[in-house]
């Protein structure tokens, strides 16, 4: 691989070719294939699904047990030259605690052999908005600040490919928005950004494409909105608490988005095919029936249940 950092025409930036990876008897990734190009791709799946293993194989840090993980058509494993093109942000919080944020990023720039180490480090720190605290020891940073520091160290050489493992863990909402903006800017400049998350909203807000990984397998891939529609068109169960559950159940049963009600042990559960329409309908129906609503809560909104539904499809 040459170090020109130019994307090769027609060659995907990242690809997995029938990749499996197992640890002893445990299969972490099972026969996964995909090609990725520029833009933002979210790797979505519950904890333990194999997302992190996939990212580590793409970053050349894990060897596939079978198949090949490639960067611009070349094997990622045992190939240090790929790091001229790749920035990798691990999930683990560990940094060198005795180094200041500036020194940490400068170290990364130096190890990349950049000509102007100071300028590159300052630029990367500005990108993640850590300039103000750059001289503080990184061991004293909050979890969110450490996340951004790791991103700064990973982008200091302006890589064409950025891999991030659960980058929003520990970041507060404001920090998340800032990091999302940074990633969007990188993608707009032509970079390939891939990040993992087990939180649907994080993927929904940022990713253009999504790869859904469940139990080591690629369960769905493609445009996020198409996959989201698959997710939202599924039946939902909603638990409802009110001052008259039976009265509310009788009033709701005739409404369009509702196709089932159940009152059991004093609790009302409603099944609906359209969560948003139901959320708009239920207050009106309750008001008309003279019922006071206390609480509405989806009973199966966990990502695992959404994924289980996708797998059945």
């Amino acid at each position: 691989m040459n170090g020109t950092q130019e994307m090769k025409a027609g060659v995907p930036a990242l690809s997995l070719e029938s990749v499996s990876r197992w640890y002893g008897n445990v299969v972490a990734v099972n026969d996964v294939s995909f090609d990725l190009g520029p833009g933002i791709t979210g790797l979505l799946g519950p904890n333990g699904a194999g997302k992190s293993t996939i990212l580590h194989m793409l970053a050349g840090l894990l060897r596939p047990s079978r198949g090949a993980a490639k960067v611009l058509g070349e094997s990622a494993w045992h190939n240090p030259e790929i790091y001229r093109l790749i920035g990798f942000v691990p999930e683990r919080e560990a940094v060198y605690p005795f180094l200041s944020g500036f020194d940490f990023v400068r170290a990364s720039a130096r190890l990349h052999g950049l000509p102007d180490v100071e300028a590159a480090a300052l630029k990367a720190l500005a990108e993640v908005e850590l300039t103000d605290v750059k001289d503080r020891a990184s061991g004293g940073y909050s979890k969110g600040m450490k996340q951004r520091l790791k991103v700064a160290a990973a982008i200091v050489h302006e890589p064409r490919i950025l891999l991030l493992d659960e980058p929003f863990n520990g970041a507060d909402p404001r920090q998340r928005l800032r990091m999302m903006d940074s990633l969007r800017r990188m993608a707009a400049a032509g970079a390939t950004v891939v990040y993992s998350s087990h939180i649907l909203e994080e993927v929904e807000r940022l990713a253009e494409d999504v790869l859904v990984i469940i139990a080591g397998r690629l369960a769905a891939s493609g445009d996020f909105h198409a996959i989201r529609k698959l997710m939202t068109d599924r039946p939902y169960s909603v638990s409802v608490r009110s001052n008259d559950d039976r009265g509310l159940a009788a009033a709701l049963i005739g409404q369009a988005p509702v196709f089932g009600v159940e009152v059991m042990d004093g609790a009302l559960t409603v099944r609906t095919s359209d969560l948003m329409a139901f959320a708009e309908t239920v207050p009106k129906v309750a008001r008309a029936a003279g019922v006071t609503l206390f609480e509405l809560s989806p009973t199966d909104e966990s990502l695992e249940s959404v994924f289980a539904y996708l797998v059945q499809r």
Binding site: G3, S52, T53, H56, A59, G60, L61, L62, R63, H78, P80, E81, I82, Y83, R84, I86, F88, P90, E91, R92, E93, A94, V95, Y96, F98, A107, S108, R110, L111, H112, G113, A153, D165
Partner: protein
């Protein structure tokens, strides 16, 4: 780049609590030499220094333990705490990560063990016995190189490098190699004693050396070289994954 990794590693090592323990360990020979001097023992100072102080304590315990704690931590700890990923995801051949780390561990090991050897030796022999002290200083220097290289390798081969290292130091070198002479060809301690005797130019019995000087030197250098070669190969194959 190598200089930067060297300095980074040195800083890591100096901030470790275990380094303070190693500094205290290096003071023990000085303390024992002082007690010997004050006790006005009727033992020959040169023999006592060669056999008990430097051959028995420094070469047998201080040098290998220092090398074990430093060598096993320079890469092993980084792989364990996850910081190794910042070095391994750079466009560098792995030997450029390995050698500066080994050099940093070696420098610190030598900085602790060689002064302990020289000062305690001179103190015990009451200023004389320069040849013995020089012999052991060279032996400690070269022995540290072999020990550090072997223990760095061990940390790349096993998650239990410290335990295996302790077994090697106390069971293999301390007990078995004393009983079965053939095992001394696989004992860095005995390589070191051979070198000490050779450099000092004294009777081999004084040092309990089993190997001749040239042989010991060849073995110590070969051990260090092969261990580093294997460690580099191992580091090239090492996998990094998120802690579960």
């Amino acid at each position: 780049m190598s200089g930067f990794i060297f300095m980074l590693t040195l800083r890591q090592l100096l901030l470790q609590k275990s380094t303070l323990l190693l500094a205290l360990l290096a003071l023990i020979p000085l303390l024992i030499a002082l007690i010997f001097r004050l006790s006005e023992s009727d033992q020959d100072p040169e023999n006592w220094t060669a056999e008990v102080l430097l051959g028995g304590l420094v070469v047998t315990i201080v040098v290998p333990l220092t090398a074990l704690l430093l060598g096993a931590s320079v890469i092993g700890d980084e792989l364990e705490d996850g910081t190794a990923v910042y070095l391994l995801t750079k466009p560098l051949p792995r030997w450029q990560v390995l050698l500066p780390k080994v050099a940093a561990a070696l420098l610190l090991a030598v900085a602790l063990a060689v002064p302990a050897t020289v000062l305690s030796g001179l103190l015990a022999i009451e200023g004389g016995g320069g040849a013995i002290v020089t012999g052991f200083a060279v032996a400690v220097l070269l022995g540290s190189l072999a020990y550090v290289a072997v223990f760095v390798l061990l940390s790349l081969l096993s998650n239990h490098a410290l335990i295996i290292g302790l077994i090697y130091i106390f069971l293999w070198e301390g007990a078995l190699a004393g009983i079965f002479e053939g095992l001394r060809f696989l004992s860095i301690r005995h390589f070191s004693l051979g070198i000490a005797e050779w450099v000092a130019g004294t009777e081999r019995e004084t040092f309990d050396a089993y190997l001749g000087g040239e042989t010991a030197l060849a073995f110590v250098l070969a051990t260090a070289f092969l261990a580093l070669l294997w460690a580099n190969r191992r580091l090239e194959q090492v996998e990094v994954r998120e802690a579960s």
